[in-house]
């Protein structure tokens, strides 16, 4: 991992602030994601993890700080010596370079699995239909669902739906994939099939930001981990150090609580 310093930064957040009315959901968050890295975001409920990834993907607007994708300012542009919001078209253009996987899958129930995957490439990225279809089938094979191309999402189990959702997000070849608790809505026995797909994506070199409560996944797959609490990044570092020798008390007690919880269950 000594190449880390030379690798290109793909996604970056600097001092990002987000308010919902009086709640300060993000209170100056810094984050830097290098090309090919998997960054896990951990933290207690309400610490702003979802808000952070939603802001990164411009599903929410931010109130302070700045975010960059490949060095390009996200959501704003320079104008007469200051900044102004980008046009909707430009924002959409920027969003198309990222993909997102949601906790509740959010597949489109009125379309077949295949159409769920091909619609964005064909209608948004201008990929020819035949090519998009071939790629979709290839992706479905990778996530182990070749036989479900013509099924409707509601006919699939949660784990299958989430695997389709991942294929859908991957189809347009995004620069970064954002995951917001991709396994939290799944029955325990379905979690592994989704994590396996995510691991293979990570191995293939996909840059990923993953909000998760799966400590084993974070430890084994993530290159770096970020611990958030009350809208701030409390601690971050390479996964091995992060789990082996946490520097802050907050992270230490968070990790202890988790491992105890796991023992209590198993």
């Amino acid at each position: 991992m000594n190449a880390e310093t030379t690798r290109k930064t793909v996604l970056e957040a600097r001092g990002v602030v987000k308010r919902f009315g009086d709640t300060l959901a993000l209170d100056g968050v810094d984050l830097s994601v290098a090309e090919g890295d998997v960054v896990a975001i951990l933290g207690p409920s309400g610490s702003g993890k979802s808000t952070l990834v939603r802001c990164l993907h411009q599903l929410e607007s931010i109130d302070g700080g700045a975010m960059y994708l490949d060095g390009e300012l996200l959501g704003f542009e320079e104008h007469r010596g200051g900044l102004r919001p980008r046009s909707e078209r430009q924002v959409e253009q920027q969003r198309r370079q990222m993909g997102m996987v949601f906790q509740q899958f959010n597949l489109f129930p009125h379309w077949s699995v295949l159409r769920n995957i091909t619609e964005a490439p064909t209608k948004v990225h201008g990929v020819p239909a035949a090519k998009a279809r071939a790629r979709a089938l290839e992706l479905l094979e990778k996530v182990g669902l070749s036989d479900k191309a013509d099924a409707h999402p509601r006919q699939l189990s949660g784990g299958q739906q989430q695997r389709v959702a991942i294929a859908r997000a991957v189809a347009p070849n995004p620069r970064v994939l954002l995951f917001d608790e991709p396994t939290s809505a799944l029955d325990p026995e379905l979690v592994d099939e989704v994590l396996a797909v995510m691991k293979s994506l990570a191995r293939a070199g996909m840059t990923m930001v993953v909000v998760t409560h799966e400590m084993d996944f974070a430890r084994e797959v993530a290159d770096r981990c970020v611990f958030m609490a009350e809208g701030r990044v409390v601690e971050e570092g390479p996964s091995a150090e992060f789990f082996a020798s946490p520097r802050t008390d907050r992270l230490r007690s968070f990790l202890t609580r988790y491992s105890e919880g796991r023992q209590a269950v198993s």
Binding site: E88, N106, H110, W111, S157, L186
Partner: protein
């Protein structure tokens, strides 16, 4: 542990239970229906012969077409305008939201009859209608009397009234769509318009169609109001005839028969459309041919003809842990 039941029982040989109240209820219904039929057949004042002779009368048929035409035009304009207003009511731009809410408030509140008369008499209020620069020079103008015929007054009045109702129906349909759907569509880089047209609207259809069917039928009957501004609709055409022949009852029956025929056809169409937009929601309906629905209704069981998958109960997202 309870004691094991005797192995000699077999419910397959069970006889149905005797239910006396069902017998009483069934008999009561039969008697009432019989009396209605006897009334319809034997009451000479209904003059079925006259009904038959006027049922396909050219003037009646012309009126029927006018009624259907007004219904369809009113519904098409009302739906398109209503959808735009619904989207406007949900806009994040204040002024657009307010004007759309104002529209619905006003046009839902005015009785359609009042509106029809108002539009018909527009010339009294606004003698000329002109296009031009606001507060500036006029480019072109028409006399309101030339522009507003009974037909245009009927179309404007019915459409604007319908739009207000459709706006509320579409709005509730849009709100019924999970916000995650919009998030997912935006996250994939769909534009606002694509998100609305491809993802939100088709899913809201499931909620929009049933009340829209009632609106359609309501509008069909509502067109009978236009007879007050001398529009030749179905009701007006039979009125013209019975004002001459005084055969009021049989001619009203002619109109009733045609209204019922069209309403029945509309209802059948509505069921088909509902089934179309329900696809992807009901596992059985998507996997089964049309006739399968009837089978499901009769047996009360849902058979899945697809190859046995390892899918669990519903496959629906189950929210775990902390809710939002």
């Amino acid at each position: 542990m309870s004691t094991p039941a005797l192995a000699t029982h077999d419910v397959a040989s069970a006889r149905p239970r005797f239910r006396p109240w069902r017998l009483v209820g069934g008999a009561a219904i039969a008697i009432v229906m019989l009396q209605v039929v006897i009334f319809l057949v034997t009451n000479e004042r209904l003059e079925w012969g006259v009904v038959a002779s006027y049922l396909f009368n050219p003037n009646v048929l012309t009126g029927l077409w006018m009624t259907i035409f007004l219904t369809i035009v009113g519904m098409v304009i009302g739906s398109v305008l209503g959808t735009l207003i619904a989207a406007g009511q949900l806009s994040d731009f204040g002024p657009v939201r307010w004007i759309c809410q104002l529209y619905v408030g006003v046009f839902r509140g005015i009785p359609p009859l009042v509106q029809l008369i108002f539009w018909f008499n527009l010339a009294y209020l606004v003698p000329r209608i002109s296009i031009g620069v606001p507060f500036g020079p006029e480019l072109y103008s028409w006399s309101s009397n030339d522009l507003i015929s009974p037909l245009t007054a009927a179309i404007i009045g019915l459409s604007l009234h319908e739009a207000a109702y459709m706006a509320e129906i579409v709005r509730s349909g849009i709100l019924a769509v999970d916000t995650g759907q919009k998030d997912a569509a935006r996250a994939m880089g769909f534009s606002r318009l694509q998100t609305f047209m491809k993802v939100v609207l088709p899913q809201s259809m499931r909620v929009i169609i049933p009340p829209t069917g009632s609106q359609f039928i309501g509008l069909l009957k509502g067109t009978s109001l236009v007879s007050v501004i001398a529009m030749g609709d179905l009701l007006h055409s039979v009125q013209v005839i019975y004002n001459r022949t005084y055969q009021v009852v049989p001619l009203l029956l002619v109109a009733v028969i045609w209204y019922l025929v069209v309403v029945t056809l509309l209802t059948m169409g509505q069921r088909r459309i509902e089934r179309y937009f329900g696809r992807g929601y009901d596992r059985a309906a998507t996997a089964m041919p049309k006739t399968g629905q009837v089978r499901t209704m009769l047996t009360g069981a849902v058979a899945l003809p697809e190859p046995a998958g390892e899918t669990d109960a519903t496959g629906r997202a189950r929210r775990k842990g902390k809710g939002a």
